[in-house]
Amino acid sequence: MRLLFATIRKEFFQLVRNKILMFLLLVCPLIVLGIIPLSFDGGYRIRAGICDASSDLESVDIAKRLSESAMFEEIFYYENLTSAERAMERGEIDMILLLSNNGHSIILDGTFPRRAMSSVYATSLEAFDNNDTQIVFQILFNAGRSHKHFYLVSLIILVITILGTALITLNIVNERESGVEEQFKATSMNRSIYLFGKFIFYTLLCLFLFFISYLFCYFVYNLQIEGSLFALFIVSLFFTFLLLGLGFLIALLSNTQLRAVYILTINLVLMIMLSTMFTHLSSMPYWAAVTRFANPVWYGVESARLVVLMGATLEEIAKNLLLLQQI
């Protein structure tokens, strides 16, 4: 027991006395959480070019409605189609609205299909008042449909994934490479106690990082946690175990830090992109959707969303994530 505390104390001092690392661990996540959410605004802000070849008043009316709409940011007017096309080639406008006496047409920039679909939707809604559908949409969970809250949860998980795996992996491999691990063999220190001490220390560190991140988001972005705090704690603890386990695995496989960094990089990119952080499961092919059961980041993102945004209880989370209901 004394040995275990000694290991934890060693890790603690090693961390606290390294000023740059302390800065990277405690301040940089907050900088990231402070700046990156500026990209989550989520407005449409379509830049449209209007090419008016008709003579009646209806086209003037449509152009006026577009320029008043909140979904359109800038409206440019062009004399003829070629000049509008040239502007699109330069990437200055997303769509061209061609108004003429015998039918209107829109030409879209297809290099960003998601945005092209939004442009069609916005044009039919705003310019042509085509909103006679019989559907009322009611949004459950995350009711304001705030982009910020949705991606903040992902961003917290992303930052902790990076910090947690990088810390544990490179700490172990660094000590192996510089020979410190060899020296421990000459002491009364047991190898399993040594690794267990590291494990406990980094678990506490990750939980502390979770704590300051959620606290920061609560005060700055007013991120309310729908579920219970206990559920959030358990979910974060579980996620931290998965991360540190992955870090141990990579550390076992690599002899030098160089190799550890490369293996870690390829793993992190794949895991982050294959989790549902940026996309949803339904649009993945089957083989990719199945990999989520071996993906710690997926568990982290999904469970955090379930607790923070949907207010699920632990039982529901366990059913959702562990019983493999979604195959």
Binding site: I20, L21, L24, C28, P29, V32, I36, F40, G43, R45, R47, E89, R90, G91, I106, I107, L108, G110, F112, R114, R115, A116, M117, Y121, T123, S124, N130, T133, Q134, I135, F137, I139, L140, F141, N142, G144, R145, F150, I162, L258, R259, Y262, V269, L270, M273, L274, F278, T279, S282, S283, P285, A288, R305, L309, M310, A312, E316, K319, N320, Q325
Partner: protein, 352 residues
């Protein structure tokens, strides 16, 4: 001077080459990332499950349900019996939206659709798709330029290539320089006549070759896997890959000149190169839909310059003059970061 640069380049090349496993990972990394993720990251709806809560008991909506079920986007996931089952259906089952019909439904009444706001991208896509359901006939014709069939695999490709290149390029050069310092071999370099700028230049040369290999492999992959041909712009494409890799390397070098060991370098590269390039480059979120405060800065980071230039060169096949500004901005940024890193390295490289 050139001789000294070449000597250092040769030393670096040998040390890369002799660590066979690291070299293999280094070379195939972008290939694996783009190859796997290019098939996965699609931002479209495929077989989204929905449930029906029909309290009217009429069969008015069977045609609608079967029509939705038959489409590629949606599939029918079952009936619900009461409103109490809606919330559990979202949490426990795989249901993404619920169509609810009130008990005394008349023609002309409004339907209610419950969507899940915590799956934001999906709920937005569902809203757009369903609102347009009844009004299939737009009052206008639609045509698409540069991607006539609106192939969805073209959407993530520029961003994925950017991510693969930026993370590998920024880590590899700065790691090799920082490693000398951490392991103490920088003290041996102090005995050589080489100056700091020559050390950096010599170390960059092998990694420039590696990034050209990356450009070639990514080009071949996108040609054979996704069928994207680059006919006229092939020289521009390689120039872009090269300049972008250099810009990423110099950003990585700048981070390396501030931090001390490999752990800090790794964290710095991920937090300050990977994360901003994913979020601010227009890869996940379109540039125009960010807060207007950040748009001018976001459009200047290397990632968004690469994505814009890639779209221009590969998809729109536009001429060099249109894309020249992206190239110039990339070169200017590389130069800026190089000078700052050089200044900092001169002060702290040989100190342990």
């Amino acid at each position: 001077m050139i001789r000294r640069v070449l000597y250092i380049a040769r030393k670096e090349l040998i040390s890369i080459y002799r660590d066979k496993m690291s070299m293999t990972i280094l070379v195939v990394l972008p290939l694996v990332i783009v190859g796997i993720l290019g098939n996965v990251l699609r931002f479209e709806l495929i077989d989204v499950k929905f449930a029906l809560l029909d309290k009217s008991g009429s069969n008015l909506f069977l045609p609608l349900v079967s029509e939705l079920d038959a489409s590629n986007e949606f599939s029918f996931g079952g009936n619900l019996n009461s409103e109490r089952e809606i919330l559990p259906a979202f949490i426990n089952d795989d249901i993404e939206f619920v169509v609810s019909i009130p008990s005394n439904f008349n023609r002309g009444d409004k339907l209610t659709v419950f969507v899940d706001g915590s799956l934001l991208l999906m709920s937005e896509a569902i809203t757009q798709r369903l609102s347009l359901l009844n009004s299939e006939d737009y009052p206008f014709e639609i045509s698409y330029r540069y991607n006539e069939e609106l192939k969805s695999e073209m959407e993530p490709l520029p961003g994925l290539i950017m991510i693969a290149l930026v993370i590998v390029a920024s880590i590899m050069l700065s790691l090799s320089i920082n490693r000398e310092r951490e392991r103490g071999t920088a003290r041996m370099l102090i005995l050589t006549p080489a100056r700091m700028s020559e050390i950096i230049a010599g170390k960059s040369l092998p990694y420039l070759a590696v990034s050209l290999i990356h450009g070639l492999s990514v080009y071949l992959l996108s040609l054979f896997m996704f069928g994207i041909e680059i006919n006229q712009g092939i020289a521009n494409f390689f120039l872009l890959t090269l300049l972008f890799s250099v810009a990423s390397m110099m950003t990585g070098l700048f981070i390396a000149s501030i931090v001390k060991n490999e752990l800090e370098l790794l964290i710095g590269c991920w937090l300050f190169i990977f994360i901003p390039n994913v979020f601010f480059s227009g890869f996940i979120f379109p540039l125009q839909s960010m807060e207007s405060l950040i748009i001018p800065y976001a459009s200047l980071i290397p990632g968004s310059l690469f994505i814009e230039a890639y779209k221009g060169i590969v998809f729109r096949i536009s001429s060099l003059e249109i894309n020249l500004k992206y190239f110039v901005l990339l070169v200017l940024q590389s130069l800026l970061f190089y000078l700052v890193a050089l200044y900092l390295f001169k002060r702290n490289f040989f100190r342990k």
